[in-house]
């Protein structure tokens, strides 16, 4: 039997050089998908041999908002919803930097929704990685902008009556040059998309559907986090370049995954630089 059990001090996981090891184990619940997403991101950095001096990981508030604190790079934890606005300041002030925003659905699309659509519209070079768990986890499982129709949360105890956002559709309509959706089960494909996005210039958006076994999935009787991952295996289909408007996301029927948008558009800080260069010649 070749299972080696080691204590933390001499444990050498290949991604750990990208992670603040003195902060592990992380705060996420058992079977929460955020950790898997963070690992996928670290794996993408590793396979690209990404220049860590140029990376700035930025997050907002919430469970996923804690992500920035785990990366061994420059990193900043903003107030609720403001990660993208901060990242815009970083990128415009120093275009050599590579801001990556990792945050949750409530942070990015409720309180931060305005910043999201406008950064996408401007096509500011940044990667936005959204862990969508359909509720506000850190505050105890309230409904949010992606909570599905009739889902139970502590603030929709009789079933959610609001129409949820389809995040990939919002991103595409706002002007993102790269848009993808995966579930936490698609860790490998997610890593590939992250690699692609990290090498592409402009506003990139990747949604990762993730279990929240402690709150959302428990209130909605989806079973354990493992059960939710099994359900993802049953219902997810990969349809690259499907129209994001039609990229269905329904736990009862199916979740359409894949890379939906991959296009080119002049990037904001490049445009700023070329305009400034012209003006300075005068």
């Amino acid at each position: 039997m070749t299972v080696t059990t080691r204590s933390s001090s001499d444990y050498r996981h290949p991604i750990l050089e990208y992670i603040r090891q003195d902060r592990l184990p992380h705060i996420f619940c058992s079977a929460c998908g955020i950790g898997t997403v963070l690992q996928a991101f670290a794996n993408a950095l590793r396979s690209l041999n990404f220049d860590m001096d140029r990376l700035v990981v930025i997050s907002g508030i919430g469970c996923t908002g804690r992500a920035s604190g785990y990366f061994e790079s420059d990193s900043y934890h903003t107030t609720h919803g403001r990660a993208i606005a901060f990242a815009t300041g970083v990128k415009v002030a120093n275009p050599n930097l590579k801001p990556v925003v990792i945050s949750g659905d409530g942070d990015l699309f409720a309180i931060g929704g305005n910043h999201f659509i406008h950064a996408a519209r401007r096509n500011v070079d940044m990667l936005v990685l959204c862990v969508n768990n359909f509720n506000y986890g850190m505050t105890g499982g309230q409904m949010g902008p992606t909570t599905p129709d009739s889902a139970i949360t502590v603030t929709s105890p009789d079933g959610n009556i609001e129409h949820p956002f389809n995040l990939v559709s919002v991103a595409a309509a706002s002007g993102a040059v790269f848009v993808a959706r995966w579930t936490a089960l698609h860790a490998r494909r997610l890593t590939k998309s992250l690699e692609k996005a990290l090498q592409k210039k402009g506003f990139k958006f990747i949604e990762v559907v993730s279990p929240c076994p402690t709150l959302y999935d428990r209130y909605n009787r989806h079973g354990s986090g493992l059960d939710v991952m099994k359900r993802y295996r049953e219902i997810s289909v990969i349809r690259n370049f499907t129209d994001p408007m039609k990229a269905e996301i329904d736990y009862r029927t199916r979740i359409v995954c894949g890379e939906f948008v991959d296009t080119e558009k002049p990037e904001f800080t490049d445009l700023l630089a070329s305009q400034a260069a012209e003006l300075q010649k005068r």
Partner: protein, 95 residues
Amino acid sequence: MLTRQERAPIVPEEESNTKWRIVVNEDWCKGCGFCYTFCPREVLEKSDKFNTKGYYPPVATNIDRCVGCGLCEALCPDFAIHVEENEEHSKRGGK
């Protein structure tokens, strides 16, 4: 009580002549079950012993079947499992 840093590593169990070795950090495992559930080769199983936090980490009961695909590693939300090549195996000229 010993702290996490002070605790001595648990000595690896008997090595077999397999190409792959699965390394588990029991301290970090939160027992989600992703690794042994989604392993395509049924290499891993849930252990019958729990860790200090009360979670059941995985054990590789079928390491000979492991092809080193690393899915267990990729899915683990807690960075608590990874797959490495078994140097002993290479030294012995194994493929």
